[in-house]
Symmetry: C2
Subunit: 478 residues, 2 copies
């Protein structure tokens, strides 16, 4: 029997968590309602909550309350894979194209799509609609500024300042999305036949660009927590003339890894000394769960000898449909601008102006705060579900941001083989081979927590794991 | 003294035209109001109008009425220029970039911009706004179909059928504009170092793409009326391995020339026999003044051995701001699709869906009919103004569609030299050198009739000609 009131409350809440009444990611009742329901003081409630927190059962989130934490039975992290040590051209298979055109939605069950309403999107549409109605003839007859609307570049400049990146609007060039920015970055830094180092597992969009541009790839193995292996990159630089290196310092797909900011300086230093470009894919940069924003690599670029080209977009953090991205190319700004003009010429003005207002008036900040909370909750649900149901067979990453986790299966599994049969059932598996130019990661796959883990998605997940683990029923993932 | 009533009416109208009360491009009063005002029968009015028509003073336009024609004192056409006969790399100067980024609006006096209201644009905005409000979360979370919204491709397929081009929606790929389509077309047909033939004077956007992609150019001289010289192209094919040829069969910028449809078959035949690609810039295809629509070259492509890649857009015919274009690449469709995906990934869905509805519901057809009438009137005004004020010094083309005319100055003139000083006065001259990779056409310039010829624009035109003709005050243009 509990001796004190806080002990009683603590045990009550523990029981609710263990019984599943409160699930991973759920928010606990507010302090005020706990006071009322249990007829105790605020100090007593806080005492109980702090004890649950120190037992790692719940987690406080600033301004949001207390949430049920992912339980301690977490899986070990995925292991790294040896990457080939010589540059090779990139050749992307037909299945790869099919998967890419389907898989970019980050949803294993597209048919079940029933998005939560995001109130800020309505506001964004309202702002864009208003801009569309203003001077429509003027907009129809004239292109926007070559580098994109100044109002949008100003809003982005202020937004990036919150992430410790100081960049003038004059040095930002608007593009039609992060993919467009990455394309421009590789076009202006490389010639066909050049060698590019890419963090591995890599974003498939970059591999496709490299194939089309006739670039050779060196995959540099990445850690599921700390991203690209800087030692390995340094080693490879002594062997090959590397022109550029593509990295995703914040929550890179598929693993959700982050390059520790204390490594930024040495990476930039390496680029300066060896004269190669660091192409930073920052598309997930706004999706850090912790309230402390994560600075982009570009924030620690060498001001005397800029080497980092930042590519960003709102596609993952606000809307895939706006087709608004940006490139911050430092000394190569004019080259980037030129390449933007010959590929895209301009961007719709109403979308840029509406988005500029949306950012400047604080709607984007509010949207991000809600979205991060939702994603964190969905990540917790996914991790808890995997741990409870498949934890004995698989390993997976546990990122603190972004949209996805990287799952390692037993060695004998082949996730690509399962792709086609699952596809017929309407289940979209994203096989690990998609993230390598060398067919690595056959026994890996990417799972996303961009969608809520509904009962239908749970069933799809089970079907997926039954299918991919079939071949290796008796083995387990080491 | 006129003996008959129709003679009296005829002389009245003639007097109004000669005195300037009715100006070139103006619409005559309706038949009904002429009957009423002059107290005559409809037969009498028609008799008078037919006589004015046979005197080439007025022109009937189907369903629109009678308009004052451009007077007979038209200028001779610009002469052709000898183009260099060996392939050369393209190198675009800094001034070229500046002009390009400013000049794409087709307006010599951007500050005077006061667009007529185009009622259909309001309808388009309404349709796009409605699509934006439908399922915003769904749109924010998912990309469109890889080739673009099927509804838009269906609407375009039906629209192009009116121009005698039969193409299934499955063979159309949506892009972010004609510039993007041309970029894709050159990327999928050529490798760096390849030689591309381009109709000369050429669209500067194509020259810029070729510079960036490291392609060599052969300029094939074009006639201001009938476009590319097919004989010259044939001759060049015997000397150089030409991979592609860029043509604008309908109202190409800057001259507004049209390849006669009876030459289409021999051009396609040439491409089949010599195995090169015909890249058709069809951006002005919807801007033919005559009611008979002009068929694209693609409509006469060889079905067994497709050689024509059609690039189109609504930027010039509806709105530059939508950033919607398309590419119809025949056997290279999948390659084009792949290139679209790696550069742009997707297009905003609400814009595509709104535009699809706009076309399908007949608004686009109505808009085009109004726009063509307006452009024809503005062309007539510009031609009349030039003829009356500068006709002794210059030559110019008289296209039956598109947005601009090609003006030839006396040999000693240098339009590029005048560019900078006029720029300071807010006047935007588009120098002829912009349309050549070899610095040809120094004594040419492009004038647009996309804007109404207001008093301010007339003053700007006078200032422009005073400036460019200054150096050669005593010479005239032969």
């Amino acid at each position: 029997m509990p001796r004190y009131r806080y002990e009683y409350l603590e045990q009550e809440l523990k029981q609710q968590i263990r019984s599943g009444y409160l699930q991973t990611g759920d928010r606990l009742p507010s302090i005020r309602s706990l006071c009322r329901d249990y007829q105790v003081s605020k100090a007593t409630v806080l005492h109980a909550l702090h004890r649950l927190e120190s037992e790692q059962l719940v987690q406080a989130r600033p301004k949001s309350g207390y949430f049920v934490r992912t339980p301690e039975y977490e899986s070990p992290l995925p292991t790294r894979v040896q990457t080939p040590k010589t540059p090779a051209p990139v050749s992307v298979s037909a299945i790869f194209r099919d998967i890419m055109s389907q898989g970019a939605a980050f949803d294993i069950l597209p048919a079940a799509s029933q998005q939560d309403s995001l109130p800020q999107l309505t506001q964004l549409n309202r702002l864009m609609g208003r801009q569309m109605r203003l001077h429509p003839e003027q907009k129809a007859g004239y292109y926007d500024e070559s580098a994109g609307k100044y109002s949008l570049r100003t809003a982005l400049s202020a937004h990036l300042r919150q992430r410790k990146l100081r960049v003038d609007p004059e040095n930002i060039c608007i593009t039609s999305g992060c993919q467009h920015s990455l394309f421009i970055a590789l076009m202006i830094t490389c010639q066909p036949g050049d060698t590019v180092a890419v963090e591995s597992p890599a974003f498939y969009g970059v591999l496709q660009i490299m194939e089309q541009l006739g670039l050779n790839i060196i995959e540099i193995s990445g850690d599921p927590v700390s991203g690209i292996d800087i030692q390995e990159l340094q080693e490879q630089l002594t062997h090959w003339p590397i022109k550029a290196c593509v990295v995703t310092p914040n929550f890179g797909t598929p693993a959700g890894s982050c390059i520790p900011p204390e490594h930024y300086a040495s990476l930039v230093d390496l680029a300066c000394r060896n004269d190669f470009w660091l192409i930073e894919d920052d598309i997930y940069g706004d999706l850090a769960f912790s309230s402390a924003a994560t600075a982009p690599l570009k924030s620690q670029d060498n001001p005397q000898n800029e080497k980092v080209i930042l590519c960003g977009s709102v596609s993952k953090s606000l809307s895939r449909d706006l087709r608004v991205g940006w490139i911050i190319a430092g000394g190569l700004h004019n080259k980037a601008l030129q390449m933007k003009l010959i590929t895209q010429l301009a961007s719709p003005q109403a979308i840029q102006e509406g988005l500029a207002q949306f950012i400047a008036e604080g709607h984007y900040r509010r949207h991000l705060s809600q979205l991060r909370q939702k994603l964190q909750q969905q990540r917790d649900q996914l991790l808890a579900y995997l741990s409870q149901n498949w934890g004995q067979k698989i390993r997976y990453s546990q990122p603190d941001g972004g949209l996805c986790i990287w799952v390692q299966l037993p060695d004998a599994c082949d996730s690509q083989a399962a792709y086609r049969s699952l596809r017929e059932e309407g289940i979209l598996l994203t096989p690990g081979t998609l993230f390598s130019a060398h067919g690595l990661y056959r026994h890996y796959l990417r799972l996303s927590f961009a969608q809520p883990l509904s009962a239908k998605r749970k069933a799809a997940l089970d079907r997926l794991f039954i299918c991919v683990l079939e071949l290796s029923d008796k083995t387990s993932c080491q």
